[in-house]
């Protein structure tokens, strides 16, 4: 029997023409803790989804214990021994711990649940965390304990591979310690752990092997012993960042469009910054660093404490309507759920933020409505049949252009863009960058919130680095910017 529990050979995965994984091959040693690292969008999640049967692969093979493995759905993968703790936990909050554990695998007779089933799970759960009472409701448990429940489920199915996708994202320090202890125990039992995290110090601590993915490609797999410092990892993760055609914008530093003083809320800790006229300001950080929270606070849709001045006047923005009235517009993080109404047409979506451009006193001028929609289709270059086309049938990039059209129609002085090119193909990305640069040229002040470093380095004049709700530092963009240093800061280094 080979020493490898999983052999991944030439795996590719294409989504509507986008290569999420491109010819990835590496092996996972039995009983090891194998860490997967990479920036957002590097292909980690896609790989996990293939291993757990959530997505079929486009090409390539996976050997599991030497045998060809192509699970048809997550259940089948679980049955064959690959368990997964997903980023979003698969527990039903309204049910008890024991009910969750048995969910979907209840031993039944004529549809009636037989008692005393899954005794094994309880045993496992007890071993992982004796403080969890099976009678408790899941919603009363902390996230860490919910993870323990999930883990017990996976272990009880005799999994010999357990995948953990960002398991520590919402854990306290103490809970993280406990998890690491559990991982060590599991390894001692010969169980293989595939561990995914953005937190490099965890990787350095846990890993036996590290695999780095970048832009869907396999960069390298190394034993931990060959990695000396976090810097080595960072270098593997980001490769050579090419700061593509960053051109300084015409920033007027005498005019502060936005001043933020001591912004605090559930996530943010004392954030202070200014935004100048005509500037493109970037906020960079990994998932959960507080980018979206800053955007939402400025847009008035999340509560905050602190002072915000727009164009020199203090405002207490409550609700999107007030923000728009103050001249701030937001391209939200989630395009399909927050940005556009996909069942409606471009014509219906375009004026949503500001009906005044198509109506007087609440009465719509239908000619104007069509003109406005067409104007922005041309301005931002939305590829569509005509303005009556449902947004649902546009590509991701074009949907995002509709969101931008919506914002532009509100004539903002300040435009906030949260992950403006997430899930957008390369061509459309460049087009969106061009739109952003043009807007800055026209005197609009812009803040880009992104977890893609090349995007930030290509667009922004200044870059704010976020880690865990704190604004660590600001750096001025330019050829001398050290992307490794940036990576160091946003992964928790000093």
């Amino acid at each position: 029997m080979s020493e490898y529990v999983l052999e991944i050979k030439n795996i590719s995965k294409h989504f509507a023409g986008v290569k999420a994984l491109d010819d990835v091959s590496f092996n996972i040693v039995k009983g090891s803790c194998h860490c997967l690292v990479g920036e957002n969008g590097a292909g980690k999640s896609t790989l996990i989804k293939i291993l757990t049967g959530a997505h079929p692969k486009t090409s390539g093979t996976v050997l599991y214990n030497g045998k060809d493995f192509a699970p048809n759905g997550t259940r089948e993968a679980m049955r064959s021994g690959i368990g997964c703790l997903f980023q979003e936990l698969n527990v039903v909050e309204k049910l008890r711990v024991e009910e969750n554990i048995c969910l979907g695998q209840e031993e039944t007779k004529f549809g009636i649940i037989r008692q005393k089933s899954n005794a094994k799970v309880f045993e496992v759960l007890k071993r992982i965390d004796p403080s969890i009472d099976p009678k408790m409701l899941i919603e009363d448990l902390s996230v860490a304990k919910r993870q323990c429940v999930e883990m017990a489920k996976a272990l009880a199915m005799d999994s010999d591979v357990i995948i953990m996708d960002e398991p520590t994202a919402s854990l306290s320090e103490e809970e993280v310690r406990r998890l690491f202890k559990i991982i060590a125990d599991l390894k001692a039992q010969g169980i293989t752990i595939i561990y995914i995290s953005h937190r490099l110090e965890e990787i350095m601590e846990l890993a036996d092997y590290v695999t780095v993915l970048r832009d869907g490609k396999h960069i390298d797999t190394k034993p931990r012993s060959e990695i000396n410092t976090r810097q080595d990892l960072i270098q593997m993760m980001i490769g050579k960042v090419i700061v593509e055609d960053y051109q300084p914008n015409d920033v007027d530093e005498s005019v502060k469009m936005i001043e933020v003083k001591n912004l605090n809320n559930r996530k943010l800790k004392n954030v202070n910054f200014d935004l100048y006229k005509g500037e493109i300001l970037g906020f960079y950080g990994l998932i959960g660093a507080g980018k979206t929270e800053i955007a939402r606070a400025l847009f008035g849709v999340d509560p905050y404490a602190g002072e915000v001045l727009v164009d020199g006047t203090a405002v207490k923005t409550e609700g999107a309507r007030a923000a728009l009235a103050n001249g701030i517009a937001l391209v939200p993080e989630e395009r399909r759920t927050q940005g556009v109404a996909t069942s409606l047409s471009i014509l219906d979506n375009t004026p949503m933020m500001n009906y005044n451009t198509i109506a007087t006193k609440g009465v719509v001028n239908k000619k104007k409505e069509v003109e406005v929609a067409q104007e922005y289709i041309e301005k931002v270059g939305t590829a569509c049949r005509n303005e009556q086309q449902s947004v649902a049938y546009l590509s991701g990039g074009n949907q995002q252009k509709v969101v931008i059209s919506k914002c532009l129609n509100a004539h903002p002085k300040v435009l906030l863009l949260d992950e403006p090119t997430r899930g957008v193909d390369v061509g459309a990305k460049q087009e969106i960058y061009t739109i952003i640069r043009q807007l800055a040229k026209q005197g609009c002040s812009i803040i880009v919130f992104s977890s893609e470093l090349p995007e930030i380095l290509g667009l922004c004049d200044r870059i704010g680095l976020l880690y865990d709700g704190e604004l660590k530092t600001f750096i001025k963009n330019g050829p001398e910017v050290d992307s490794q240093q940036i990576m160091h800061v946003v992964t928790g280094g000093n």
């Binding site: 927050q338 409606l344 009465v363 303005e387």
Partner: protein
């Protein structure tokens, strides 16, 4: 289906819309049903009497269905028209019996209905509670008020002689039909020409996106529920006026009749899609179908089965249009 070569925005003249396709389909079905009616009863079916009859018996639904369409557009359901309408009808009789002029009584009872509707919508949108349950609760409350108001029975004695002023027939056309036509036309215009309709549709299509676009959920949802209550109340007042009797059970199944008209007409029960025109045709389909079945002498049980089947057919058709036609 679509004009594939029409790439140039300004040159393509006829632009297909999802609503357009849907309305065309539903109208075609309506025409087919009418042809069937004509074939079965060539003399009786197209007679003026019969047409007026169809319209009168559907006037209540035609009066309240356009606003119900707006409620559905906003992504909500209103289960209260039955109770609200009955309450307004009973209050109308009580006010008129107490000596208030008929017109004033009507306006006062409709206003009370409107307040109920507003409250219902306000609670739903402000506290983000499910509309089905909250409006059902309002249905019980208003129905209870109607029952108490009518003393557990009906109000017929002591009503002024001119209480039927509101529902007279003028040169062969009953006023309720006139109201219904005016209301439908008004809402056709409102849907086509107002920001209000755009905002309501946006909320139903994606409430998060609408919220992040600065559209007020509370204002709009309260408004659609208030409007729907106004027209449900008006329908109740008209029934009391027409029969010179106020009965708390005057509008059985009114809310479902309105919802069925909307859904038959292509309104999406999940919100964000639907037209007043489709709703009108939906109401007429139910009316004509019932009329034909009455002429054929089908008992009401059989009629219920047929209506149920038609409803399923309509949903299947709408679903097919939505998934197959990519406009």
């Amino acid at each position: 289906m679509s004009n594939a070569t029409a790439n140039n925005l300004s040159k393509s003249k006829l632009k297909l819309t999802m609503d357009g396709v849907q309305n065309l389909a539903i109208f075609a079905i309506f025409v087919v049903i009418c042809i069937v009616g004509f074939a079965l009863e060539p003399q009786l079916f197209p007679s003026k009497n019969n047409i007026v009859n169809i319209l009168v018996s559907n006037s209540s639904v035609m009066i309240a269905a356009p606003t119900m369409c707006f409620v559905l557009l906003s992504g909500n359901l209103d289960m209260s028209p039955n109770g609200v309408g009955a309450m307004a009808g009973v209050l109308f009789a009580i006010f008129a019996r107490a000596g208030m002029p008929v017109g004033v009584s009507a306006i006062a009872s409709i206003a009370i209905g409107a307040v109920c509707g507003f409250l219902c919508g306000f609670i739903i949108s402000k506290l983000e509670l499910p509309s089905f349950i909250i409006s059902l609760a309002f249905n019980y409350i208003t129905l209870g008020v109607a029952l108490i108001g009518a003393g557990g029975a009906i109000i017929s004695a002591g009503l002024p002689g001119n209480i039927d002023d509101l529902s007279q027939t003028i040169s062969g056309v009953p006023l309720p039909v006139v109201y219904a036509i005016i209301i439908v036309v008004a809402f056709l215009i409102i849907q086509s020409k107002t920001v209000f309709a755009r905002e309501v549709t946006a909320i139903g299509a994606n409430s998060s996106a609408a919220k992040l676009s600065g559209i007020s959920l509370v204002k709009n949802v309260s408004a659609v529920f208030a409007l729907n209550a106004i027209f449900a109340s008006f329908a109740g007042v008209l029934v009391t006026s027409r029969f010179s009797v106020a009965d708390s059970g005057m509008l059985p199944g009114f809310e479902t009749d309105c919802i069925i008209a909307c859904v038959l007409g292509g309104t999406d029960i999940n919100g964000g899609r639907g037209t007043v025109f489709g709703t009108l045709i939906g109401a007429l389909i139910v009316g004509v179908l019932t009329n034909i079945m009455n002429m054929l002498g089908l008992v009401s049980y059989t009629q219920n089965i047929v209506k149920g089947l038609v409803l399923i057919g309509a949903i299947l058709l709408n679903d097919a249009i939505r998934t197959k036609v990519k406009v």
